[in-house]
């Protein structure tokens, strides 16, 4: 008897934690999607109304579209810059340790601090970027005030903030490539570019996949940047899905609807990650 109980006792902290902090919230959220609830009044069962509303909610679909736009800019940009910098930092250059630290620094700085700093850089009249543009004879750009520029501007800022983490991941990947491949390529007279595309890139493919998945999941949770910098504007051009869900839940207390949006958005993320996985597996 004692033998049977002990293993359960040993795993019970995890099981309790899982039930309280994972299973119950997920189950409760799904239950909420069929209810109208503003936290303080009793819940009202409304069947599939929240789902019907979701399909007709233009702002929600706009927010999903905005999030995808963000991902389409942010992920390729992040991979290219991170890989390029990792390749440089993998060489024997002066002050290599300093540069590795410097590129990683934004990752550990608070997201709110970074967004406020970039807000100053992006300022229309006083921002450094527009001052530079004027100096070289170009016109000003409404980085955060022009609906077509606002989301790309946020994507660039998010890339700057996160690129250090992916440099580290790529550095790990690059250091796993056996040196003898490069020595053999040198003997064959391969150029640096040929070595990169024919040896490095194929061998760090698993790292690239990991970076794509991590950036995708991270990108789908875009929140602080638009929340602090633009509030979702101008004209809803930077409202991300998570920001919209947050507004529904914590501005207007539409907990049932917010849960429905969250649940549906989780399904979208899951589908995208499965597609990415299938794509990579097919590639193998």
């Amino acid at each position: 008897m004692k033998k049977k109980i002990t293993p359960y006792l040993l795993v019970s902290p995890y099981i309790i934690h899982f039930l309280v902090f994972v299973a119950f919230p997920v189950g409760f959220s799904i239950y909420l999607t069929f209810n109208d609830w503003n936290i303080i009044s009793p819940m009202k069962f409304i069947g599939l109304s929240n789902y019907k509303r979701l399909f007709n909610d233009a702002i929600f679909w706009k927010s999903v579209f905005n999030t995808l736009i963000f991902l389409m800019i942010h992920i390729p940009l992040q991979i290219i810059i991170a890989l390029f910098l990792a390749e440089l930092l993998n060489q024997k250059i002066k002050l290599r340790g300093f540069f590795r630290g410097a590129f990683f620094l934004p990752v550990i700085v608070s997201g709110v601090v970074v967004t406020i700093l970039w807000q100053q850089l992006y300022g229309y009249d006083t921002g450094l970027l527009n001052r530079l543009l004027i100096k070289i004879g170009l016109g000003k750009v409404g980085w955060l005030t022009d609906p077509s520029w606002a989301m790309p501007s946020i994507a660039v800022m998010a890339t700057w903030k996160n690129v250090g983490l992916y440099i580290v991941l790529f550095l790990v990947g690059l250091q796993t490539v056996p040196l003898q491949y490069y020595e053999a390529a040198d003997l064959e007279g391969a150029t640096h570019i040929q070595k990169f595309f024919k040896i490095t890139l194929p061998l760090i493919n698993p790292t690239i996949f990991m970076v794509v998945v991590l950036s995708t999941i991270g990108g789908f949770s875009l929140f602080i940047e638009p929340y602090v910098m633009t509030g979702g504007g101008p004209l809803n051009s930077t409202i991300s899905a998570v920001l919209y869900i947050y507004k529904q839940g914590f501005f207007y207390y539409h907990m049932g609807y917010a849960a429905t949006l969250g649940f549906f958005f989780a399904l979208i993320i899951l589908s995208v990650v499965i597609m990415q996985k299938k794509f990579v597996e097919k590639d193998k």
């Binding site: 000003k140 955060l144 509030g231």
Partner: protein
């Protein structure tokens, strides 16, 4: 994962408040939560000390509302966790209907002597404003901070005006004279005014809403679960503000994260409240002079100029075991003498009728002439309409405001019509 932090914060706040049970108030008389700014804490402490001296058998424990992202969030968490205090001062008027409908507030008009008290303190318009849709009164009008036009006196004089602009035409003329491209780069960098361009619903309390109240002589946005703002006054306000942005008299970029643009004379006016006085007095450069004036109105406007009063009121939660004692304590807080103390400590206006003419307060206004302007304005202020979906109403208006006024993507007529339809849909749900 970033939004998870916000949700976790909410959960932990709820947990914190839940742990912090009302056992103190059960042992003694009442638990009173005040706002958590320094001045209001000082006032609450003064009030509670004096009450406890006079009523040793019915002691009140005071506590500033626990720290959180906003006091609204904390109150919500307390209601959910059933850990509300007996009394909370600083309840935003627009939130009351939501809590009243959820049955968490005491209907004050059922308490003995309430009606006599409120008719002595407030005029009928204020009483009507705080009356809920079910005909009961769940909040006691406490304080206001009217939104007015702050202006730089020296700049207005230098533009050739004796006084700040009162009408839209005067505003445009002054703005035209002040607007400048200081560094000759082809772009304006000195604007006549500034208002936050964020679409966040409450930002409209500092542009559209007070201007609408001014143009409509204190009109409503919603009545009997219908939008009533698609009218001539709102149209004029949208047209005025759209023109202001179109002519670049207000900046479209956010100026709030840099050095104070008003005190550094980058702008000449701002729509703001009396809290600006202590800030300006502390940080203004030598020789800087400023004053306040009523909100600009359409050229053909007749009558008094209304504005948004940003009222905060006092409520008694149903969790209170002794609402009659709580009501007695409220009468103590809101006595004429304690209102004076409140005014002196916080520089915020008690919401009582004819405060500018009441001799009890005259010495304060003599010492603080700028506050006298706000006291005079207090006769013509309005709070919000009573509705549980008020934030969404403001959000929907704000969406259309942004599209029309700031980015000129819609005509004012179209924007107001779209906002009206969206708000009416809200009530159909």
């Amino acid at each position: 994962m970033k939004y998870v932090k916000k949700i976790m914060f909410f959960i932990f706040t709820t947990a914190f408040i839940s742990c912090n049970s009302n056992s103190d108030s059960k042992k003694i008389g009442l638990l009173y939560w005040s706002s958590n700014n320094t001045e209001e804490i000082e006032f609450a402490r003064y009030i509670v000390d004096n009450w406890n001296k006079e009523h040793p058998s019915a002691k009140v424990v005071f506590q500033p509302v626990p720290e959180g992202q906003s006091s609204e969030e904390i109150i919500l968490a307390a209601v959910v966790g059933k850990t509300t205090p007996d009394i909370y001062s600083n309840m935003w008027e627009g939130d009351v209907e939501l809590y009243a409908r959820a049955g968490t507030l005491v209907a004050l008009d059922t308490l003995e002597g309430f009606k006599k008290f409120i008719y002595e303190r407030c005029d009928s318009a204020v009483i009507q404003e705080v009356t809920s849709e079910d005909g009961h009164i769940y909040q006691l009008p406490w304080k206001i901070n009217p939104v007015m036009m702050l202006y730089n006196t020296n700049i207005i004089k230098s533009l050739g005006f004796d006084k700040a602009p009162k009408t839209y035409s005067e505003f445009f003329e002054a703005a035209k004279r002040f607007q400048k491209d200081s560094d000759s780069d082809g772009y304006v960098d000195r604007w006549f005014g500034y208002s936050e361009v964020l679409v966040t619903w409450w930002q409209r309390f500092f542009d559209f809403y007070p201007l609408y109240l001014a143009a409509s002589n204190g009109g409503s946005l919603i009545k009997n679960n219908r939008a009533v703002f698609n009218n001539e006054a709102a149209l004029k306000v949208f047209e005025f503000l759209r023109e202001v942005y179109k002519r670049n008299y207000f900046a479209r970029e956010r100026l709030s994260a840099r050095q104070d643009v008003f005190l550094s004379s980058v702008i000449a006016t701002r729509f703001t409240g009396p809290w600006e006085i202590s800030h300006s007095e502390k940080f203004k450069p030598a020789g800087f002079e400023y004053d306040f004036q009523t909100m600009p109105v359409p050229d053909d406007h007749r009558g008094s100029t209304y504005t948004y009063g940003d009222p905060k009121n006092i409520v008694i939660f149903k969790s209170s075991p002794n609402p009659q004692l709580a009501w007695k304590f409220l009468q103590f807080i809101l006595s004429e003498e304690n209102d004076l103390k409140f005014l002196e400590i916080t520089n915020q206006l008690p919401r009582r009728k004819m405060i500018d003419e009441n001799p009890i307060y005259s010495s304060y206004f003599l010492k603080n002439p700028k506050m006298k302007t706000f006291a005079e304005q207090a006769k013509h202020v309005k709070g919000t309409d009573q509705s549980p979906v008020l934030k969404e109403v403001f959000d929907l208006i704000s969406q259309e405001y942004e599209a029309c006024v700031i980015y000129d993507k819609k005509t004012p007529k179209q924007a107001l019509s779209d906002a009206e339809k969206a708000v009416n849909l809200l009530f159909l749900k």
